[in-house]
């Protein structure tokens, strides 16, 4: 089975909105929003193998960048996508600095966690820009003048963005860059001995991961229509962890599966306070114990086409 058949999936999704009610459409949109989030997170934690827990920072920065540019400068949404990605990428590069100095494992996790929380504190404090704890409304989005005033319209734009980020990341991973990330994860010293300038690739992985998550943030901003700091707290972090753990660490397909499951699950079951934390917490525990490589590993066992490859040809 040729991997090019995967292109059929977005094509197959095109007519789906015709059969969905607005609520279901919104849920599908949310799943799409979380695919780039999973891709970016997976890149650093799963492929590069560093414990960078700052993903929510890029998500929030991307969302707020988009929202603030729209609300304060009147920029149309489609023009804010690149700034959101850039801010995410910049934040990622900054977060990579301790890693460049050799900080690893739990220290790195703590630092990046603190960084994420510091960003959330910034959203709360910088009221003039972000509306503080009360949050801010995100103006209606448009794409080159075409108003995105329904979830169905947003769906098509989101689908395009998801396909774009997936394709670009796939191209990056199936090259010496992707292999460099994995080599650093498996054996940094050996990677350097093979001529990999590890510093460069660490920054690149962080930056690209941050940028992709930032795009997810921009999508999130117009999907929910209202931004508040509480959307980017540590509960959001466990949600994002659940995506990559359940889906499969380091796997592009895993990001898709994980995003789908984490988004749909709360809708299928009756929600209650603490649902996210309880359910995702238990889910992660079970996955670590019984399926450490996530669902994508199950798929790979069924058919090798689902295995992530890191070369062309």
């Amino acid at each position: 089975m040729d991997r090019r058949l995967f292109w059929l999936v977005p094509l197959a999704l095109l007519p789906v909105p015709l059969w969905l009610n607005p609520y279901q459409q919104y849920v599908l949109n949310t799943a799409l929003v979380y695919i780039p989030v999973g891709i970016g997170f997976n890149l650093v934690v799963g492929n590069l193998g560093l414990l960078a827990f700052s993903n929510v920072a890029y998500f929030g920065l991307g969302a707020y960048t988009s929202g603030v540019l729209m609300a304060q400068l009147g920029m149309p949404w489609w023009m804010t996508i690149i700034p959101a990605a850039s801010v995410g990428g910049l934040a990622g590069s900054i977060a990579s600095i301790p890693a460049l100095r050799g900080v690893r494992l739990f220290y790195l996790a703590i630092m990046t966690l603190a960084f994420g929380e510091l960003m959330r504190w910034t959203y709360i404090r910088w009221e003039a820009l972000t509306g503080g704890s009360m949050g801010m409304a995100v103006p209606t989005a448009d794409l080159l003048g075409w108003p995105l005033d329904s979830d169905r319209r947003k769906f098509y734009v989101f689908l395009a963005l998801v396909v774009l980020t997936l394709t670009l990341t796939d191209r990056l991973m199936r090259s010496r860059f992707g292999r460099a990330f994995l080599a650093i994860k498996d054996n940094e010293i050996s990677a350097a001995a093979m001529g990999v300038a590890t510093d460069r690739y660490i920054v690149l992985a962080f930056a690209w991961g941050g940028a992709v998550v930032g795009i997810g943030g921009a999508m999130f901003a117009i999907s929910v229509g209202h931004l508040s700091p509480v959307s980017f707290d540590l509960t959001e972090l466990i949600r994002q962890f659940a995506i990559i753990m359940v889906g499969g660490l380091g796997s592009l397909i895993g990001a898709i599966i994980g995003a789908a499951i984490i988004t749909v699950a709360p809708q299928v079951f009756i929600s209650f306070p603490g649902f996210d934390e309880l359910v995702f917490g238990i889910l992660i525990v079970l996955v670590i114990l019984f399926l450490p490589r996530g669902l994508s590993s199950l798929l790979a066992r069924v058919h090798p086409a689902f295995t992530d490859r890191f070369y062309r040809g």
Partner: protein, 292 residues
């Protein structure tokens, strides 16, 4: 300006004692198993809620409620290590960190399920009062916390330095292989230390329940403060954890007053970032870094 300095130091020390206890409990776990418990903050919070449940819910005397809370968290810590971490102990660090984090989140979810997002007011088993020492105001909260933590530290010191059990614990901290060679059941030791760490954390939670309003998100803040204190004191150092906690408490108060009130909130976030950037091994601790 400087006239307020003694007051700031005193109240900073009092808060710092609390941080010290939390950092100490996290360090016990880390020293024993080299795993940082990312769910520790939620265990502390669970301890706080537990004492509430036992004292106000079941109407038990405070002391009994406290002991029960400690016991419950001991079991929780023990069970987490034994059933969830021990099976994956040889696996990647990410899995260990995630497992601990996930357990913490599960606890938080349970707390939120029961108590929603409401806030519980602190409940003190002692009368609130204030004492004046010159210009310095000392509250009963300060006295109780400082007194309690100091007594606890003294007891722990005696335990570790004087009793045979303490010698065994210290020896195992230093060399697990050596301990195994002399017949110590190291996996059991690990589980017991996680239980002990959780129990100490629960004590911190008990103290928190006396002086702060409780929400299910308390664990989030507690974790950050615990990390900051551990970072200041050097990871893995028990004495350092205490010193780091007190230092954190005082620093927060001083920065908060002399520089800007925001520092009360964000010192906890800034400390790990700044300290580890400048000295990747913490102020007094060991390296968790790689040289390529």
């Amino acid at each position: 300006m400087l006239t307020l300095l003694p007051q700031l130091v005193v109240s900073g020390t009092s808060t710092g004692m609390l941080y010290a206890l939390i950092a100490l409990s996290m360090t016990v776990v880390y020293r024993a198993t080299t795993v940082v418990n990312f769910g520790h903050g939620d265990m502390v919070a669970a301890g706080a809620y537990a004492v509430f449940v036992f004292s106000l819910g079941f109407g038990l005397p405070f002391l009994i409620a406290m002991l029960l809370a400690i016991a419950v968290l001991f079991v929780a810590g023990f069970a987490t290590q034994h059933f969830l971490l021990q099976p994956i102990v040889a696996g990647p660090h990410l899995s260990l960190a995630m497992m601990a984090l996930a357990v913490g989140y599960t606890l938080r979810g349970m707390l939120r399920l029961e108590w929603g997002n409401e806030t519980m007011n602190p409940s003190r088993p002692y009368p609130q009062d204030v004492y004046m020492f010159g210009t310095v105001v000392v509250t009963t909260d300060d006295v109780v916390i400082c007194g309690f933590v100091l007594v606890l530290l003294a007891a722990l010191f005696v335990l570790l330095q004087v009793t045979p059990l303490g010698k065994v614990i210290q020896a195992t901290f230093q060399s697990q292989r050596g301990a195994a060679l002399v017949g110590i059941n190291v996996p059991l030791f690990h589980a017991l230390m996680w239980g002990g760490g959780a129990a100490l954390g629960a004590l911190g939670g008990v103290m928190l329940s006396m002086i702060t309003p409780l929400t299910p998100d308390l664990g989030q803040w507690t974790l950050v403060q615990g990390f900051a204190a551990m970072t200041l004191g050097g990871f893995g150092s028990l004495g350092g954890a205490v010193a780091g906690g007190i230092l954190l408490g005082i620093t927060e108060k001083l920065l908060g007053f002399y520089v800007n009130t925001v520092f009360i909130e964000i010192t906890g976030y800034l400390v790990p970032i700044i300290v580890l950037m400048l000295r990747p091994q913490g102020l007094f601790g060991r390296r968790m870094t790689v040289r390529v």
